[in-house]
C-alpha cells in the first residue's frame, strides 16, 4: 500500500496566521483568546473566544471583508464564501506554497480535496431571514453555496480548479479528522496521488453561541483561564474558528518532487460510542476502540506512541472520558506517552479541530518540540496515571496519536510517524 506523507501546511488560527507564528505559540504556550465584543451583553454568560486576528469577516457581505496583505482574492471568488471559506482559502494558498506545488500539481485528476466545516450559521440566518422577509426573488443567488454545510469544499474545489476527488465530511468535532482519514485512504488505495484536507469554522457569535444552550461553553471571563483541559476547575470549552489545510501526498509523489515531508500519516481508526447524541461515553469506549484500530491498521504498537494530542476540549465529561480511554489503551500496559491538549491555547475549533491539530502535530515534529498542556493549575485527579505534559519539552515525538471525537459519539484516531 502506498505510504502517505504530510508535505504542506497552512494555518489561519487563533494562535497564528502562518506556520512560524503557530509554532511559536505552541512552543511558548501562548493562547489566542480574547474577550469577544459580541458576547459582552448581560444575557450572554460566555465572554471569551479564540479570535482570528488580521481578518474582518463580521459583515454578511463578503465585499466588506478584509484580510492580511499578500492574499489576492477576486470578488467572484469571495462572493460565495463563508468567513471560514476565506480563512481556509488563505490557508490553502499557504499550504500550496509550503508544499512547493505548481499550478499543474493542483489541478489534475490525481489531486483531490476533502473538507469539513459546520457551514455558516451567520450566513444561513441572514439569507433565510431575507428570503422570508423580502421573498426569494431578492435573495442572493449565491446565498446557498455560501452558507450550507459543504460551502468549504464547494468554494475551494472551484477556486483552485480541483479535478480529483472532492467531498465534505460532517461528524461535528470529528469532521476534519474524518476528512483527513478518508483522504489518507484515497492515496493509500492508489486512487489519488495528492489530497488537500481543509478544515474551517466561522468561529463567530452565530457559530459558537448555540453551544451555550448545551451549557458546554466556559463561562470564565479571564482569557488566560477559560480553556484548561484536564484541570480540575475546567468549566467548558472556548470556541474558535479559522481555516487549516494539510497537504497529503503519496510516497511516490514525494520522491518525484523531491520534497521533504513533515511526517508520515501512518494510519487511522474509528469507532462510535453508541451511547448518546451529545455526551461522550463515560469510559471513552469509542475513543479507546478508535485508538486500538488506528494502531492495528498502521502496524504501530502502543509502546511506540510517545505523544498524544488529545481531543480534550476542557469540558467536564469529555476530558475524563478521553483520559479513561487513554488509560485503557496505554496506562494498563504501563506505557505513558506524553499527553497534551492544544485546545488550551486555541480553543475548540469544532469541525476544524482535527485538521488544525493534525497540522500542529506535523509542525512540532519538524520544529522539534512537544507542546505542554497549558493552563493546568491543579490536575483533575481523574487524569491520574497519565503523563500530561505541563510544559513544553524540547524534543519532537517520533510517533503521534491525534484523537478527535464528535457528536453522536463518533471517534477518530490518526497516527503520525516522523518521516
Amino acid at each position: 500500500m502506498p505510504r502517505v506523507f504530510i508535505t504542506g501546511l497552512g494555518f489561519v488560527t487563533s494562535i497564528g496566521n502562518d506556520a512560524a507564528s503557530v509554532a511559536g505559540s505552541l512552543r511558548e504556550l501562548r493562547h489566542g483568546f480574547e474577550t469577544y465584543p459580541p458576547f459582552q451583553k448581560p444575557d450572554i454568560a460566555c465572554k471569551v473566544v479564540g479570535t482570528i486576528k488580521g481578518f474582518f469577516t463580521d459583515s454578511v457581505d463578503p465585499e466588506d471583508w478584509t484580510w492580511p496583505a499578500g492574499y489576492e482574492i477576486k470578488r467572484e471568488t469571495i462572493r460565495s464564501m463563508a468567513p471560514h471559506g476565506l480563512y481556509a482559502h488563505c490557508a490553502l494558498l499557504q499550504a500550496v506554497a509550503d508544499a512547493r506545488l505548481g499550478e499543474a500539481d493542483i489541478s489534475n485528476r490525481d489531486t483531490g480535496l476533502f473538507a469539513a466545516s459546520g457551514g455558516s450559521p451567520m450566513l444561513t440566518y441572514y439569507h433565510h431571514d431575507r428570503m422570508l422577509k423580502l421573498g426569494p426573488a431578492r435573495c442572493s443567488p449565491l446565498g446557498i453555496v455560501a452558507s450550507i454545510v459543504g460551502t468549504l469544499n464547494f468554494n475551494l474545489v472551484a477556486a483552485f480548479r480541483i479535478q480529483g476527488a472532492s467531498c465534505g465530511f460532517s461528524s461535528a468535532c470529528a469532521s476534519s479528522a474524518h476528512a483527513m482519514a478518508y483522504a489518507y485512504e484515497e492515496i493509500s488505495l492508489g486512487r489519488q496521488k495528492r489530497m488537500f484536507v481543509a478544515g474551517g469554522e466561522d468561529g463567530n457569535r452565530d457559530a459558537i453561541l448555540p453551544f451555550a444552550g448545551m451549557r458546554t461553553l466556559s463561562l470564565q471571563t479571564d482569557p488566560a483561564l477559560a480553556s484548561r483541559p484536564f484541570d480540575v476547575a475546567r468549566d467548558g470549552f472556548v470556541g474558535t474558528g479559522g481555516g487549516v489545510v494539510v497537504v497529503l501526498e503519496s510516497e511516490e509523489e514525494v520522491s518525484r518532487r523531491g520534497v521533504t515531508p513533515y511526517c508520515e500519516l501512518a494510519g487511522w481508526g474509528q469507532a462510535s460510542d453508541g451511547y448518546n447524541v451529545a455526551i461522550s461515553h463515560p469510559d471513552g469506549t469509542g475513543s479507546r476502540i478508535a485508538m486500538e484500530n488506528a494502531l492495528a491498521r498502521s502496524g504501530i504498537s502502543a509502546a511506540e506512541v510517545d505523544y498524544v494530542n488529545a481531543h480534550a476540549t476542557s469540558t467536564l465529561i469529555g476530558d475524563i472520558s478521553e483520559a479513561r480511554a487513554l488509560r485503557s489503551v496505554f496506562g494498563e500496559m504501563g506505557i505513558r506517552p506524553a499527553v497534551s491538549s492544544t485546545k488550551a491555547l486555541t480553543g475548540h475549533g469544532l469541525s476544524l479541530a482535527g485538521a488544525m491539530e493534525t497540522g500542529f502535530c506535523a509542525l512540532i515534529m519538524r520544529e522539534g518540540f512537544t507542546p505542554g498542556s497549558a493552563h493546568i493549575t491543579q490536575l483533575d485527579p481523574a487524569c491520574e496515571g497519565l503523563n500530561i505534559l505541563r510544559a513544553t519539552v524540547p524534543q519532537a515525538p517520533r510517533v503521534v496519536m491525534k484523537n478527535s471525537s464528535g457528536f453522536g459519539g463518533a471517534n477518530v484516531a490518526l497516527l503520525m510517524r516522523r518521516a
Partner: protein, 324 residues
Amino acid sequence: MSDNVQSNPGGNKALTIATKPFAPDDEAALRESLKRCSPSTFEAAVQFRKTGNADHMPAVVIGVIERFVEPDLRSKLKDGDDDLRLIEDLGIDSLTMMEIVILVEDVLQLSINNDELRNLRTVGDVKTFIDCKIRGLPLPRPTKFLPIEHIGAVMPVQPPFLFLNEASVSSTGANGKYKITGQEFFLQGHFKDNPVMPASIMLEALGQLAVLFLLEGAPTEPGRAIGANTIFFTGCEGVRAHRMCKPGDILTLSIKPKRMKMPLATFEGAIRVGQEKAVIAEDITLTFAYVETAIAPAAINGTSQPAPEGESAANPPLRVAINA
C-alpha cells in the same frame, strides 16, 4: 450549477413605475444599495427615481454592471460599446447576471422575470431590455438562431441564389455564415480555371442577411409587419473588397441597421474569413413596406412551412450590382 436560473411562472408583466414620492429614507437606502458603484451611478439613480425620466437609466444600468465586473475589465465599459458581450468580454456568468438583476431591480424599482434574462447577451441587449421595461414598450425580440431550414422558409430569395447557411438575428443586427462550396454555378465562369467568389455575390449575401433582419429582427408594430415580398435593393456605398474568397472559405457575415424609416432601411455590413477582413460595405440600403400582419409571413416558431414553390419563384430576387 445548471439550474440556477429557473423560470418564474407568470410571464412578462408590464412595468409599473413607482409613482410614490422619493423620500429621504429612499435616498439613504439607494445610497446603501449603490455604495460600491460610482457617484455618477448613484446620482443617475436618484434622478431616475425622482423624475422617472428613462434617460437616466443607461447610466444606472452601466454603473451597476461596472460594479460587478472585475476591475481590470472595467475600462472596456467606458468605451460605451453596446456590442460588448457579457460573458465573453466582461466575464459575467449567469450568477453574476442574477446579482446585477437584483441590484437593478432594487434601484430602479422594477421586477424582472428570470426567463426574460436568458437572451441578454450584450451590454446593448441589457440597455434595450431595461429601456423597454421602463417605457412600457414590448420587450425586444431575443437573439434568434436560425438554421438553414428556417432561413429558407422566411426568405423571398431561394437556392441556388441563397447565400446564408445559418444566421442569428437580434434586435440590434444579424450575423450569418456561408461556406463557399465550389459547386456554386457562377464559379464555373468566375473565373476560368480559377473559382473566386464574386464581390457582387458577397454584397448580395450581406443584402440577404439584411432582408433576414427586416423579417426577423426589426421592431414590430401591432397589426402590421414588413412584407417579405416588399423588400428590394436600392443602393450601396463605401464598398471595399479586401480579400479574395475561394471555395472552402467560410464567410462570416454581419449587418447592423444604421437608419430605418419607411420605406428605407440602411445597414452597414462586413464579411470576414476567420479574422481576416474580406468585404466592407458602409451603406446598404433596402426599401421595404408594411403589410397587415394577418397576411404577413407567419412568425417563425419552428413549425412554419416553407413558402409554396410557386410563390417564391414569382418573387424577384434582390437586385444587386452584378458587375462590382
